[in-house]
Amino acid sequence: MKNKVTGFAARAAGLAMLATGFGGVAHAQSTSLDIQVGAKAAAFVEPALTGDVPTAIVFDPANPASKADADAIMAAMGDGLKIKSGTLRPQLVPVGDAASLANVQVAFLAHGVGDGMGPVSAAAAANSVLTISNDMSCVETDRCVVGVQSKPKVLIVVSKSATSASKLQFGAAFLMMVKER
């Protein structure tokens, strides 16, 4: 376990993010609802994720906006976020430490990771890590497996090529209901 953040700043950021999320403001950051949607989507991976599921929150330490987004995601997940048959256990992972993805099953990608996204995507694919982001450009460029948005209505986009590259599988009913690209 590394870079575990449980501080006041992160929780405050989470609350602020929560407020903007309910206000329906365009997403510069992931909201608590976005994270919940992403976590619920993770429950549809087959075979199911069970028990404690190591989960990375990848961010760029050099980018304050990315750090703030990562803190918001961390705050939204707390010590662990329960999904159907397991619990996502979050840990912050700087974008330069892509090798750490070998030890996780799920990764939330914060906004503003920038050029570091390429190595992260490659490492995630190599380790069959489910990558999730609220930054839709991530899934639209096939660097994330799942893109999520909670407002104004729940939108889930799945990249077929990223899914295939990561050797991940989803239930057929789930794939019938999301947008694949």
Binding site: K153, V154, M176
Partner: protein, 656 residues
């Protein structure tokens, strides 16, 4: 042909790339993910309600329970485009977009995809569903024809009731008892057991009795009893099997042929089995079930009927933007009256169907569905030489097609418009094909093997818009339904009058003419008070235009005057911790309901009805409630042909 095979071969790898382990459609999890109800009743494909290519109402089980209703029609009547009339004790008749009638043959009702529609007379007995209110996951209503998915008789619409999944629910028990005025009592219990992580069981049962239409039905108060058991097993990570048995019995007085009152005592037993597998070739589902019905109806006769249905379907995606469902189905229907002189009437139906959803762009979706049904009619040996038809007359077949086509365009994140057209097929009821029975008077009933299907064509346009300001949504839908060669049970009395030499009177189903129904439905709903209060207002305008074959039929059947032109429903649904309150008010404009007694009809003026339930749930799992039905004491409540009842009930529930 070669070209087609090459094209199909090229598509297979794209399909296989979706290989998955997995689950069948898990309504609860998917609803939680998308934040709205999920349905398969529009196309066979799992879809969010907001994206379904049909006019739909989805009522959650939680709302059903908060409302305090005792039957499914009781809650359906609160929604736009749904007509509910009271032609019977113990239950109500449900129509979609007008033209409701006793023994309504135009609505297909199912429980978990298993039809409860009774083919022998062509109607639904809502007391025979075999389910308890506390086991409902959701009620899905599709307005308009959907024969292309479900086959015959899904012409005015479809009601598919989904029950909770014992494997997802885990160990739980719900028991309740309530009673009140008019000798009303209900006992109900539902138990879920998760035997292992991969095996779940559910048991449910209940009994009900009441005194409806006081003074009319003293010797035949309505009652129902039912019991069901379901076993679900996850055979492999991608294969799930389900087996269930349902027994239900109802006793009630119903308006039936020519709006005459008959006492029906009916028993329905059903055996159902299904297997669903998430494979590299798609989501494959096989289902087989048998419904056996015994019915005693003094004045008509006692009958035994069976229906066996076997179906197989595959649902898969081709690429990212195309979803396809392919299906085949076999159906066998049999009807025999006890002591019948003319043997068994039966038919077999062979069906093939397909659905294609094409996500043309991110905003534009085209959905098409097509189905072909071939019905082969037959009859057992006919021993009475006076019977008007020979066995050879029944050696005929009938082929019909159904379709649904819909184009949806998403204008922005909040707004969607949709246009659609559909063709549905109403098959003659088995009794209409020529069952016969000896009556106490010595006469016989005889239908005709020459009957053909009635065709429903519908056109609709709809606008859906989320309204963030009220944390809710708005919908308006306009529709036109054209029904040709409408088949109605027992409405044509002019064909043959019985004589000693020819003792058969044709008093079953026949073509009575055509009609059109115009409808506009609009709904506004929202949530307020920190999400504690849900509210909804809906209004429906309906105009039915009859074009019947004979004035005699016009005098007997009242599809136009029996339909309320204006319907307004207002609902308040409040939940605050352990306290919940549900109030609904309904206005119906004036109608004329047919009766065979007195002047032959009953004029019902415009009327307002209020139902309510207040409940308190304690921490120890015990809940208490008071329910009021027809609190405005309106004689015409529920468009009842006799004076409507007012009822107050108190209940206690146990949830563990």
């Amino acid at each position: 042909m070669k070209k087609l095979i090459v094209m199909a071969s090229a598509l297979i790898p794209a399909t296989v790339s979706n290989a998955a382990y997995a689950q069948a459609v898990n309504y609860g999890d998917l609803q939680e993910l998308f934040g709205e109800p999920v349905t398969t009743s529009a196309t066979g494909k799992p879809q969010r309600q907001s994206e379904a290519p049909a006019s739909m109402v989805i009522i959650t089980g939680e709302e059903v329970r908060r409302s305090g209703v005792r039957t499914i029609p009781d809650i359906l009547q609160n929604y736009a485009g749904i007509d509910v009339n009271r032609y019977a004790t113990g239950q109500r008749e449900v129509g979609i977009r007008g033209a409701n009638m006793p023994l309504n043959p135009r609505l297909l009702v199912m429980v978990n995809g298993r039809q409860t529609y009774l083919d022998h007379y062509g109607y639904t007995d809502w007391s025979l569903l075999g389910i308890e209110m506390s086991e409902i996951q959701q009620i899905e209503v599709v307005k308009g024809p959907n024969s292309a998915l479900f086959g015959f008789n899904a012409v005015a619409g479809v009601v598919n009731i989904i029950t909770v999944d014992p494997l997802s629910t885990g160990n739980s028990f719900h028991g309740s008892a309530q009673g009140g005025t008019d000798g009303t009592y209900e006992l109900s219990a539902v138990g879920n057991m998760k035997i292992t992580d991969k095996i779940g069981m559910k048991f449910s049962g209940g009994v009900t009795e009441a005194n409806d239409w006081k003074g009319i039905t003293a010797d035949h108060d309505p009652a129902r009893e039912n019991f069901s058991a379901e076993l679900v097993a996850q055979l492999a990570s991608n294969v799930r099997a389900d087996a269930s048995y349902t027994y239900s019995k109802s006793r009630q007085m119903m308006q039936a042929y020519q709006y005459q009152l008959y006492n029906f005592t009916t028993t329905l037993e059903s055996l159902n089995g299904s297997v669903a597998a998430d494979t590299s070739l798609g989501l494959i589902k096989a289902q087989v079930y048998k419904n056996s019905v015994e019915q005693q109806t003094p004045g008509i006769g006692s009958s035994v009927s069976n229906v066996v249905i076997a179906k197989l379907e595959d649902l898969f995606k081709i690429g990212a933007r195309n979803s396809v469902r392919l299906g085949v189905e076999y159906r066998r229907d049999e009807l025999e009256f006890i002591n019948e002189p003319a043997g068994q009437t039966y038919y077999s139906v062979y069906s093939g169907s397909g659905m294609w959803e094409w996500q043309v762009t991110d905003k534009l979706v085209l959905t098409n569905a097509l189905r072909l049904d071939k019905l082969n009619l037959g009859h057992g040996p006919i021993n009475d030489p006076r019977f008007p038809y020979t066995q050879a007359d029944y050696d005929r077949s009938m082929t019909e097609y159904s379709y649904n086509s819909s184009l949806s365009y998403t204008i922005d994140d909040e707004t969607r418009v949709r246009i659609g057209t559909s063709r549905g097929v109403q098959a003659p009821a088995l009794v209409g094909f020529g069952a016969a029975t000896q009556l106490p008077s010595g006469n016989y009933y005889a239908g005709s093997p020459n009957l053909n299907a009635s065709i429903n064509e519908a056109y609709e346009i709809a606008l859906d818009r989320n309204v963030a300001a009220i944390n809710g949504a708005f919908n308006i839908t306009g529709s036109l339904t054209k029904v040709s060669d409408f088949l109605a049970a027992g409405q044509n009395v002019t064909v043959n009058l019985p004589t000693a030499e020819y003792p058969y009177v044709r008093l079953t189903e026949d073509v009575i003419g055509d009609f059109k129904a115009y409808a506009i439905e609009t709904t506004l709903r929202g949530r307020t008070m920190n999400d504690k209060l849900g509210w909804a207002v809906n209004y429906t305008w309906t105009d039915v235009k009859e074009d019947f074959l004979s004035p005699a039929t016009e005098a007997i059947i009242s599809l136009d005057e029996g339909t309320a032109a204006h319907k307004l429903n207002v609902k308040l649904d409040y939940v605050d911790g352990p306290l919940s309150a549900y109030v609904v008010g309904r206005y119906r404009s004036s109608t004329e309901q047919r009766l065979v007694t007195g002047p032959g009809y009953r004029d019902l003026g415009g009327n307002v009805t209020v139902d309510a339930k207040v409940a308190y749930a304690m921490d120890n799992g015990i809940s208490l409630w008071v329910t009021g039905e027809n609190l405005t004491a309106n004689n015409a409540a529920g468009l009842s042909v006799f004076k409507a009842d007012t009822r107050v009930l108190m209940g206690i529930g146990f949830n563990f």
